[in-house]
Symmetry: C2
Subunit: 351 residues, 2 copies
């Protein structure tokens, strides 16, 4: 029964091994060095050689092994991109932009997505093991981690994170400036009482935004401020608005949400839960400039982060550091785009 089949089918299995440069060399009747040279840009090889090798390579379905290459060249051509739930680095356009721009430079993206920013420790360990050439991170590092990475000599670029006491490369949106504009406009338009809806506690960005808003309010002598905090989500946006009203007995003239999604939640709660007219009765503003913020039903007054330019800047900053590790640290802050949407009652456009 078991010996009915005469033809040996093992060939398939043996063939399974990937072709190496040696295989190609043998088939083409040349040395392995030659094959290696043909598959590089700056190598010298005659046209005849090139043709023979490429032909043989094609025949065997040969592809250079990037792992082996990385081992010998000490360059993995991979960068680690670390994002967390709380950043807007995950927008599809951003990821497309990231992987494509890096790809143009022959660099691959190793992605790490964190639930919480604190989880970065183990991630960092992994990136180091994989010999990444650089790190683009939207999560903070501890000074110790910073030092480790620096000692090893891996360039790091922070996205929307910065440090006061450390020399790091960073690209960010000027959150404070944006909030100051929002608050300024609201106060100018006559709003007296304010509600602040903060983001999650571990969000640096949220902290920066609300701090900026508070500072500006103080400068303008506004003291009637109530704050609550949510998790950046729509549902907590709604709950937070309700909480604001409950805490102060009535809705504040203006509500400043740490991001657009919570602002949208606030708008819905104000309208549906309290029958208020936005912006007739009260104003609500957000931050980010995400897609839904511009939907007709909300048209949120907000500050839009120039995500495309920020990402572009971060990418080239990292690539530069990889090429030239001794460039001095640089911080770039972009101003947000001011969106005078219909969710806040502002004075008409400045003259």
């Amino acid at each position: 029964m078991s010996k009915l089949v005469g033809i040996d089918k093992n060939i398939d299995k043996l063939d399974r091994r990937r072709a190496t440069s040696y295989d190609v060399a043998k088939l083409a009747g040349v040395s392995q060095s030659a094959v290696s040279r043909v598959f590089q840009q700056g190598a010298s090889a005659s046209k005849a050689m090139r043709d023979r090798v490429l032909h043989a390579a094609d025949e065997l379905g040969y592809r250079p092994n990037a792992i082996a290459r990385g081992l010998i060249t000490q360059r993995s051509n991979m960068v680690a991109v670390i994002i967390s739930k709380l950043t807007n680095l995950y927008y599809p356009e951003v990821l497309v932009q990231l992987t494509q721009r890096f790809s143009e430079h022959g660099v691959r993206v190793l992605l790490f997505a964190l639930e919480h920013e604190g989880d970065i420790e183990s991630i960092l360990e992994q990136t180091l093991q994989y010999q990444v050439d650089g790190i683009l991170t939207a999560a903070m590092m501890t000074p110790a981690q910073l030092r480790t990475v620096d000692r090893i000599g891996i360039p790091v670029v922070f996205y929307n994170r910065s440090y006061n006491d450390e020399l790091v490369n960073s690209v960010r949106c000027d959150q404070e400036e944006g909030e100051r504009w929002l608050v300024g406009e609201l106060v100018k338009a006559g709003h007296k009482s304010f509600g602040i809806v903060e983001g999650p506690e571990d969000s640096v960005v949220s902290a920066e935004r609300t701090a900026g808003a508070r500072r500006k309010l103080r400068e303008m002598n506004i003291t009637d401020i109530t704050s609550v905090s949510g998790d950046y989500g729509y549902d907590t946006g709604r709950r937070c608005f309700a909480k604001l009203v409950a805490q102060r007995g009535s809705a504040p003239d203006a509500t400043i949400a740490a991001n657009d999604v919570m602002a949208i939640g606030c708008i819905d709660e104000a309208r549906e839960g309290f029958g208020l007219d936005v912006p007739g009765d009260i104003s609500i503003v957000g931050f980010d400039g995400v897609g839904p913020a511009s939907y007709a039903a909300y048209d949120v007054t907000t500050v839009r982060q120039p995500v495309g330019r920020m990402t572009e800047a971060a990418i080239s900053m990292l690539l530069e550091r990889i090429e030239n590790p001794d460039l001095s640290p640089e911080k770039r802050a972009f101003s947000g785009l001011r969106v005078r949407g219909g969710s806040a009652r502002l004075l008409s456009d400045e003259t």
Copy 2:
């Protein structure tokens, strides 16, 4: 001038080289093999040895080089994840889930994001060079590409893509079933004329959805159908609705959008552009169950893809194939969650 400095500062530079297992071995006074064994799970090493090695390793800041390890073990412990703008695989939760679950199994994610599904060719080439252990893709491959990957023996799992004539592993949401339910409910509730807003032409998912809707409509003898197509975005959603009205002279009783975002665009256009009441005058339904679909202002009637479960399934399917390459192909289709939102006039809940 150039010889003023007496103290040699080259030490730093020399120190820059990463510590290898040999360095650790020398410091600990053991063989390199020993070091290697200590840093593996199934290796045999005495407690004394372990301590000495770990101590030395710690001193030098040694980390195993995953690249070198990958070369020798023929396992890169990396998988390629290919997403395109048109998939919902990019949601932050999904990416978090992906990277974390893989990470638990010691697997890293190499991310590729495509602008168009057609760009997959070069991506595939890259993944193969990087010796990934598996591929999770939300983009289609040509039969030739499929064969290449299969010959090399890399397991592939398709996400929301499937093939009729090829043996592949896939995890998907049953788009057709979902659309059939939506159409069925709409017809039962008395809608006679229908508008269909398709997605981009190169979207397989959109094609499946609209085809499913059309089939069900035909079965129910509905012939009054107008269709237009957009790009999955909010703006085209609005334009598409306007186009629908223009083409047929009045709004259809029900509009079926290929995704939620376009459905939201349609709702806004119907309300703002044409002063229609949704769902009083007309019904509009979507597909996906994305966040904004459940915002109070829209409350879209839709079918929510069980993204979490789908992702989970895709991950374990791929991991299984990596462990055991000879498992036979498997296709898993998940039913979507039916959301009877407020954007469509349906008969009250089934009894």
